[in-house]
Structures are given as C-alpha cells and as structure tokens.
C-alpha cells in the first residue's frame, strides 16, 4: 500500500490521493466556496455598481420592507409547496405502474414519460408559452371538449400564470424523478409484491405499505434535489412570462429577482447578495427538515 507513516505523529500522507482529487477540489474551492464567502461579505455592503461600502444589517432590514421580495419569496414557496408533492406522488405512481413486468409496452411508456427531461428548459418554456397562448391550442382544445366555457388567460392572470409555471415544471421533471424510483424498485425483490397480491392486498395498499416505505431513501433524495431545483427556478419563469416575472410579479421567483436586481435595474450587488443568501438559508433549512422528518419516521 502507498501508505507512508511518519514516525510517532500518526499522520498518513498519500501524495497520489491528493493529486487525484486536487483539480476538482481546487476548482470547487475557486468557483463555489470562494464566491459564496464573498457573497456573504457583499450582503453586508450597500451601494450602486462597484461603489460599495459597509452597511451592517441594512440589507437584511430592507428585505422586510420590500414588497417585491416578499412577493418573490411567497411565489417561490408556493411553487415548492404545491409542485414538489404533486410531482413526487405522480412519479411514484408512474414508476410503480411501469415496474409491473406484465404491463405491455412499458419500455415505450418509460421512454415517452422520460422524454421531457431531455429538452432544454428554454426550449420547452418557449413551446409551453405558445401552447398556452390565449388563443392557443390548449385553450381551444379544452373549449372543444367542453371543460371550459371561455379561454383561460394563462399568461396574463396572476393565478393562472402561476398554474402555468407549475404545469410546465411538472411536465419537465416528473419523468426524471420516475427514473430514480424505477431504478430503486428494480432492487426490490418482486416476490414481496407477489406474496402481497396472493394474500389479497389491494393495489393501493401495496403502494402505500410496500412501495413507499421501501423507497424512502430515494424519495428523500429526490425531494431534496427537487427542493433545491424549485428554489432556484429561473429559466422557466424568465421564458414563460416575458422575462420580468409575469403579471404584477405574479410568477417572479427569488432567482429572477436577483437577476433583475443585478442586471436589469440599477445594479445593487449588496442587496442582491442578501436575497441570494435567503435562498441559501432556505435550501439548508428545508434540506435539514427533510432529513430530520425522514429520521423521525424511522423511529
């Protein structure tokens, strides 16, 4: 072994190990760790453009009195609370249905449902913008089959604009989560399901009492990555709703607000950095909460 033990001190040195990991760790330190620390420092500064000076907690105080920030925060949390559970449940149901080897054509169904996550966020946002236009195909179809009487203003009404963002991200990401569940389901012994079936356990009970408990670690993993993804939502809202954040900021997200603060309005790096730390804190809190809840249930 390549161990070199230096007398008495009890330290292990491995030049090879360090050499192999150094490029990756160096890049991550330079382009992730250094900027995030810098960002923290900036969030205590104020000023226009590069003219910054120390401002203490002024930026944090400003958050509370900024209605646009409150709106962006509420919207982001709304997307998170509504969309993530819908998508996770939908992906779980689809995965458990498509895991059944007796289902004819399941390879086709899997590929079809996975296909959306091959597209770019921009390309599908553009497609959805056209499909959900006021006189677009979605409204005309819904009217033709009699579900709605008059067209829905998907892009101009605050409520429907939010609904559109939720529909769009659910379309894009459900198949992605489904693949993780399918992969995990393949590691579960099929005989468990067979025994349950023979014992007369109905399908829904098999789903809630076998599938969900066995997939818990993967559900936790996908929930955490979906949380991070939702809190960073940018491409979709930027391209679906005119780049500004929809009708009276109805679809504005925190990331889009940071972008606006930095590159659209008079640049205010300090305040933008403060808003970005709100996302950091939210991601950390929610991830911690999800790990905590997962552990509690285990007891």
């Amino acid at each position: 072994m390549a161990l070199a033990r230096r007398g008495g001190i009890g330290r292990y040195y491995d030049i090879n190990g360090w050499l192999f990991v150094a490029p990756a760790l160096g890049l991550i330190a330079l382009f992730m760790v250094y900027p995030i620390v810098w960002s923290l420092w900036m969030s205590f500064q104020s000023g226009r453009g590069m003219m910054m000076k120390f401002a203490g907690f002024a930026n944090i105080a400003r958050l509370w009195n900024d209605p646009v920030f409150i709106k962006a925060l509420t919207n982001t949390m709304t997307y998170f609370v509504v969309q993530v559970p819908i998508m996770i449940l939908l992906a779980l149901i689809l995965a458990s249905l498509l895991n059944n080897p007796r289902l004819v054509g399941r390879a086709f169904f899997r590929t079809a449902i996975f296909l959306p996550c091959v597209t770019s966020l921009v390309a599908y946002s553009v497609l959805f913008k056209g499909m959900f236009a006021f006189d677009g195909i979605v409204n005309s179809t819904l009217q033709a089959i009699g579900i709605i009487a008059s067209p829905i203003p998907w892009q101009t009404h605050p409520f429907w604009a939010k609904a559109l963002v939720i529909i769009a991200i659910t379309w894009r990401w459900t198949g992605y989560n489904m693949i993780f569940y399918l992969a995990a389901l393949q590691n579960i012994d099929r005989s468990i399901y067979e025994v349950a079936r023979i014992d007369g356990v109905p399908a829904w009970a098999r789903f809630t009492h076998i599938t969900i408990p066995l997939l818990k670690p993967v559900i936790l993993f996908t929930t955490v990555i979906s949380t991070i993804g939702t809190l960073q939502l940018f491409d979709e809202v930027y391209n679906l709703t005119e780049g500004k954040g929809g009708p009276s900021n109805a679809t504005l997200t925190l990331s889009l607000y940071i972008y606006n603060l930095t590159f659209r309005f008079m640049p205010n790096f300090g305040y933008a950095a403060t808003v970005s730390y709100v996302i950091v804190v939210l991601v950390a809190l929610l991830a911690f909460l999800q790990f905590f809840l997962a552990r509690e249930r285990e007891k």
Partner: protein, 273 residues
Amino acid sequence: MRTNPSNIASAVLTYGFVGLMAFLSIFPFIWMALGATNSSIDIIKGRLLPGEALTTNIANFFTLVNLPLVFWNSAKVTIFATVLTLAVSSLAGYGFEIFRSRHRERLYRAMLLTLMIPFAALMIPLFIMMGKMGLINTHIAVVLPTIGSAFIVFYFRQSTKAFPSELRDAAKVDGLKEWQIFFYIYVPVMRSTYAAAFIIVFMTAWNNYLWPLIVLQSNETKTITLVISSLASAYYPDYGVVMVGTILATLPTLAVFFFMQRQFVQGMLGSVK
C-alpha cells in the same frame, strides 16, 4: 392474470392513466414538429396537421440566425465542458477511493455540502471574477465555473465502489504506478459510468442558460439556447421560426439520449445503489 371484471377495470385504468401521461409527455414534441411546417398564425390557431410552410420557416430562420456560428458556439462550450468535467471528476472519484488520509471523508463531505449552494448565490461574485480576469463575453467564462462538479465527483465515487480492488492489487503487484492504473485499467473498466456521466454533463452544458445569459453579451458568442429565447421573446414572435429553432436546439440532446439510453438508465441505477 385471470379475467374477471375488477381485473379488466384495473387494466383499463392503468393503461388509460399511463397512456394519457405518455401522450401528454410526447405531445409538445409533436406540436413542435408540426409547428415547424406551419405558418405562425396556423400554429397559434392550433392546427395539428402538417402544413406547407416548412421551407419558408427554415429560410426565415436562416435569415434571422447565423446557425453555423450559433451551433459552433454551443458545440464548443459543450465539448469543452464535457471533456474537462469528466476528466477532473473521474480523477477525483477514483482519488477519493484510493486516498489514504484521515481528512478524506471530511473533505468529501465538505465538497458534497457545496451541492446545496444555489447558483443564484454565486452569480454576482462569479460575474465580478470573470470581469476582473477579462473573460466576459468569452466561452472560457461559460465553461470554467462548471468544470468542478461535486455531483459528478459524487457519481464517480459511488460507481468506483463497484470497481474490483483485486484489479488494482494485481496491477500494483505488476508494478504499475497509480496514474497508469487509472488510465490503463480504471478508464476502460468504467466505460458505462463514463457514458452515463457524459449524457448528464452534455445535456447540462448544452442546455445551460442563466450563466451564459449573464456572461455572453455579443451576438457573436451566443449559444443556441440564448438565441431561441430571444427569438421567442420578440413582441410578435414568428412561431414557425421559433419551432425550427427549438427543434435544432433539442436535436443534439435527443440524439445523445437515444444513442446512449441504455447506459443512462444503468448509470442512474448505479448512482441510487
């Protein structure tokens, strides 16, 4: 499955549900393909039949967009990002497994923690950094911050656990150096891991939007995602042209996905275990 009414009902429900979901998933692609053949007005009206405007749309697209340049920009960014990310991350993934230091797990966990940092929190410092290095409006600035990817390192390390240590030991006995083991044994053995990581990194790089939007400011450097976005955000977008653009932007990732689908699903399996 014996045929009794409840079985038939559940089969109808299952196929109905899965079929509907599959249809909804594919429909935007169909709409996109049909759209490219129709005029902007017909697309908005929701015409679902092939039209005759394909050549006009393509011609209009080419007058608005310098496609070879835009495609070349995207390809350049994607190829550099993919090759460098795979190289750096696989070295680290292997390195973390052979690393003999008591700091190993601490370093690894610290690295994983960076996965929780949202990009929005990095973009202002990164933008200033790139400005100071004089890299604004260059493709280097697009690629540089994406190479060190904690997620791909994590993915390689997870897969490396399946790399047989007997191979390593045998190579050591034969007197191979660590870097020789990596290049001559690890890389060929881990082909499918590389393939799956390739798909993930390729798609991320090709589809990347927010960061290129910030650093690429002139038309000569813009990638295809930026161009599609600006075509669609015109006051009266020509949807026929937009459809041609979205197809061109989606084709490379679609091709990569279909070409390497099996490896991708295997790779996902490996990362969950």
